[in-house]
């Protein structure tokens, strides 16, 4: 009988505690679900890794441009067409195959990474929005474990940045950066 009495005594306390604590538990769950610190962003950028070659892909290369969603680029058909056209005016006589893409918010206070591929990727450090639209960025281009280039860029809307990277197979790897949303 004694244990039962003890249980009966604690039952109302349990419900009382649950009543007062549930808002905190919900908050904690919400924070946990977000999976990281809150982070404001200065801009949203799109980064694409492009294989630029003369002619088409050989049979052996055809698996190259196949990722989970490739060759469909998430920019939308019109923007993708425009991008391909602009690439063609700089890198004349080449065809462009998208190997990877990543759309990423640029955090105000934290470093951000634009990783269309873990073989070639960018670190972005925001120095804030700029007058007239755009964002001031410190960029580091990484290839594996090495920084291969550092630069400061003011990225403007509708004004892509093309980075001509290393040679690979029959062509070059290009890193394309676009400011989204404006």
């Amino acid at each position: 009988m004694a244990p039962m009495q003890r249980n009966n005594y604690h039952l109302p306390a349990f419900f009382l505690a649950a009543f007062f604590l549930w808002p905190f538990l919900l908050c904690a769950q919400g924070i946990a679900a977000r999976g990281g610190p809150k982070a404001e962003t200065d801009a949203e950028v799109w980064g694409g890794l492009v294989y630029a070659i003369e002619g088409g892909l050989s049979e052996g290369e055809k698996n190259v441009a196949k990722g989970p969603s490739f060759p469909v680029v998430s920019l939308g058909a019109e923007l993708e067409k425009d991008l391909r056209s602009r690439l063609g005016r700089v890198f004349t006589g080449r065809n462009f195959y998208f190997l990877g893409e990543h759309t990423q918010g640029v955090f105000k206070q934290y470093e951000s990474w634009l990783v269309p591929s873990k073989d070639l990727f960018l670190k972005l450090d925001s120095k804030g929005p700029v007058k007239g639209g755009g964002v001031n960025l410190g960029l580091q281009l990484w290839q594996d474990k090495e920084v291969i280039m550092k630069t400061d860029v003011i990225l403007r809307p509708d004004s892509p940045l093309f980075i001509e990277g290393p040679a690979w197979r029959r062509g070059k790897l290009l890193f394309v950066v676009l400011l989204k949303g404006e």
Binding site: S74, D152, P166
Partner: protein, 222 residues
């Protein structure tokens, strides 16, 4: 003299902060107190080791870029300040181009010489060195720096493509047998220090987990 007074005297002695009466007291202790002498020796050794392990003067990597970048930021500040000043008074037209340069004509002329000398105009006719970078609405590149001495970065604006281009030359070719794996990734949130960032594809599946932010270390993928 109490032990704590002795300790204080010892620390001031090693730091050269003794006044005249303290100097006399310290000299007397050095002559008569072997423990005091041993402690002094121990602290000197500690200081020597610290100076050996932690440099007081260490040239930063790429010192020329270090200065150049600071100059650019100062010029940006000056430019912004000039704009603010102008906007307070008579409305002036927005300067066209030369966003990065305080002395546009001198720089443009000098850069022309350099651009020709370095063969920057060997591409299609629409390309120009950044010294001619156009209106403020275009993406512009400040300074570029390549850690490897054999790698060069040339930045230019392509009128034909209306795009800004950084061309890296001298990079080692990636071996043909290597696969370059890409994905289509959506925006991630920052992670806590020490925990990996999870970069997910548009279906919500984790395609890359990346650990970064460890001081002095490159990011790790797994």
């Amino acid at each position: 003299m109490t032990p704590s007074e002795k300790s204080l005297l010892l620390h001031k002695l090693i730091d050269g902060e003794l006044d005249e009466p303290e100097k006399v007291a310290a000299e007397r202790l050095l002559e008569t107190d072997p423990m005091f002498r041993a402690e002094l020796e121990s602290l000197r050794k500690l200081g020597d080791e610290m100076r050996r392990g932690f440099p007081a003067d260490l040239e930063p990597p790429s010192p020329d870029f270090f200065n150049t970048r600071i100059r650019h930021q100062i010029e940006e500040e000056q430019y912004a300040e000039a704009n603010r000043t102008n906007s307070r008074g008579k409305e002036l037209p927005e300067p066209r181009g030369m966003r990065w340069f305080a002395f546009p004509w001198a720089v443009a002329a000098a850069s022309l010489v350099v651009a020709v000398a370095l063969g920057l105009q060997d591409r299609d006719t629409g390309e120009r060195g950044l010294a001619w970078a156009g209106p403020g609405g275009q993406t512009s590149v400040g300074t570029t720096y390549t850690p490897a001495a054999v790698v060069e970065a040339d930045a230019f604006f392509s009128d034909a493509a209306q795009a800004t281009v950084i061309r890296l030359t001298g990079l080692p070719r990636i071996p043909s047998e290597r696969e370059i794996a890409g994905h289509s990734a959506a925006s991630y949130r920052p992670s806590h220090v020490g925990t990996p960032v999870e970069i997910r594809d548009r279906g919500g599946r984790i395609s890359v987990a990346m650990l970064s932010g460890v001081p002095g270390q490159p990011p790790n993928f797994f």
